[in-house]
């Protein structure tokens, strides 16, 4: 049972993540973009951050860099549909480079998500 901050600008993806992870007993907090997420991150404690990368108002790469600055030990999973903002970078590997612990490309199988989450959380619990 972990507290998970889920960040995606798309409501349906947030809902899907929430429903899936709640099945495994996790507690989900949602944020719409990087800016909102950073505010919540300052106010609360999270065991895991799952963030989309391409978002308005602070994208996922910036968010990961900021979070890692604030709390270098935070665990982060980046998810993305690929393509990148300008199509010039594939953002998932960048997310990994700037500190994401795992990456998942959309669309993914729900089991993949569950496995990744438990893998990332495993050492801590």
């Amino acid at each position: 049972m972990a507290r998970v901050l889920v960040i995606d600008d798309e409501a349906s993806i947030r809902l899907m993540l929430k429903e899936t992870l709640e099945q495994d007993g996790h507690k989900i907090v949602e944020a719409l973009n990087g800016e909102e997420a950073l505010k919540m991150f300052g106010l609360d404690q999270f065991d895991l951050v799952i963030t989309d990368l391409v978002m308005p108002r602070k994208n996922g790469i910036d968010l990961i860099m900021d979070i890692k600055h604030q709390a270098p030990n935070s665990r982060i999973i980046a998810i993305s549909g690929g393509g990148g903002m300008s199509g010039r970078f594939d953002y998932l590997p960048i997310a990994e480079l700037v500190g994401a612990d795992a990456i998942l490309s959309k669309p993914f199988m729900l089991q993949e998500l569950k496995d990744t989450v438990s893998q990332i959380l495993a050492p801590a619990s």
Partner: protein
Amino acid sequence: MPFNNQPTQHKQVGDTPVLVASSPTALAVSDPSLAGQFLLDRQGRILEASGKICQLLGYDCDELCRFDLRSLYLDPQLLDDAGLFRAQRDTAETITSLNCQLRAKNGALLSVRLTLIADGGLVGGASGDQLLAVIHTVEDLSLALQDGQTLISHLLAWSRELQQANSYDDLLRLIQHEMRERVGYNHVWVYTYDNMYSDSIHILSIGGENKDMVKANFATIPVRGDRFLEEMVSTEVPLIIEDARTDPRTNKAIVEQLQNRTMIMIPLYFLGEKRGSLGIGTFGDAEGCRPPGKLQLDYIVGMTGHISAAIERIKFIEGMRDNQAKQLELEKKLQQSQKMQAIGQLTGGIAHDFNNILASILGFAELARASMGQSGGNAKLPVYLDEVLVAGRRARDLIAQMLAFSRGTNSEWSMINIDPIVSETVRLLRSSLPSSLELRTELAKNLPPVKSDIVKLNQIIMNLCINAKDASNSVGTVAIRTSRKVIEHGSLCISCGAPIHGDYVTLEVEDCGSGIPQDILQRIFDPFFTTKEVGKGTGMGLAMVHGIVHEHHGHILVDTQINRGTKFTLLFPVGSLDSAQLLSAKAQTAHVASAVATSTVLPRILVVDDEVTVARFLRELIQAHGYEVATETDSHEALAAFQSNPDDYQLLISDQTMPGISGVELCRQVKKIKADCPVILCTGDLGAIPDQEIEDIGIQAICSKPIDTRNLLQLVQQLTGTVPH
């Protein structure tokens, strides 16, 4: 010419003796071409008719007497123009000769020469008001064309017809018609050649019954060694072979086969240059040997001037048609490559959205599927949801393919020998293809390196081999060959239409499969074009091959035969001095230079990218390895910063596409300020900047996007001559 005893008088008309009888009815006919005569009044009405002309026209002689000559005459105006009927009765004898056609009772036209004689005193029995028309049938030009004026007017009329001819076929038809109707030969043909010394000649086209046989046997004929043809090509005057069977110059085997008899070859000149020969001839015993008379020959030579001009004109027209067709083809190819580019861009833009949408569709379908188990419900629902999942996954795979097409993830260009990559890829493939299919590799050994990307090379070999497998239903042999070829000129790339020439390393994949029908050959490189059933092929395979090969500045050739098989040949240009080699050479010097300057403080690097996130990311990345990094997002400001403190920076890393100053320009300016400052240019479009320019400016390295960070770090390390922390 024997005459009867009637009082007769000879009159010379042109070259032909004309028999004038005192009594028309008593006229003796001994000249076979003499058809009879009419006695006419001054108005042109027929008073008497005699001889076989009545029979030829299909009338009784009595019947004819009711006619006005003009009503039989094809062109009454011509008759009037002769001024005959307007002549005064006291005029001295008037003799006019006219070539014309008379209309028979059944409508047929009869070619005749009319000789009109008006002389009351001479024409026996006829008063001064009467005219005698002596009629000769005309079968042979030698009779018809005694009048130079007529010859010229015929030729002119015919040349006007020739101007309507827009193809060689039209032209041949017109020549053949004229030759048959006016000169009396049934067979014509035209040879064309480039000059008098050419080694072979071409039959343009050919008339007459032997057409097919001749065409099939001698479409292009070698000249050397054939006395007849050699003489024909070199002579400037008509070459006449009276009897091809006995003439020493002819090739007897051909004569035997074609049954040649008389052959007349007339040189065709255009603007003083000999461009071909007009051939006229007889074949077989039915036609026999018929050498031309002087007038026939004159007329034929008169024709050739017009024919030469017509050939040149048609050549020009056909050339234009050719060019137009080529132009159209080129435009089509251009559209095609634009389409591919558009798909690339589109994919980059929409793949992200599609993947998000699919994530929802698939995710919720899965959630629904999982909750089915708990709540029971309709037994069919899980089946339906499985379908949603299957379809969703297919869409996901398609987008993954499109993404791979639009830009190969992780492109790494280097100078490589393709042989080991080919054998490695084939080894990998072998395990995933049915054993009924033999994969045979024939590698060239010692190939020069080409500038290539291993992953992409892999992709294209896989795609071609999988297509080959599909085309041959997994049985037979697929040959994969490499070689080196110098292509001089001539071939066009099948997918981009560009002419190919140069030194290439080739990669061939040949199957013994179904072959590709001509009508779809032009479309196989189209994105999404597939003949495979739904779900089997996405139609992106060859589109990707096209894209990748052309990224290599290469080209594609396809040989295919229905039910025989298909051979795809990929051509990769043999590498010249390019940025990859440049990089290693320059990097080494940079290494030496900075080794001398040994510093404990790692150098300061200026990173310029208009995209904040990218600039920031690069800074994080490079800083994380111990370097000091300054970033600029405005290229003008970057230049200003560098200018004010050039010694603060030991390396410039710049994006290429930026508003304001472009990356190349920034590098150029920086080099002007500080020539020994190494620069790395990041670009998504490798081909856009010419190697020459890169070299001229002195850019040490090109980093292709998407950026491989390890590669970038390695470059930073090499160019600054440092070991990162």
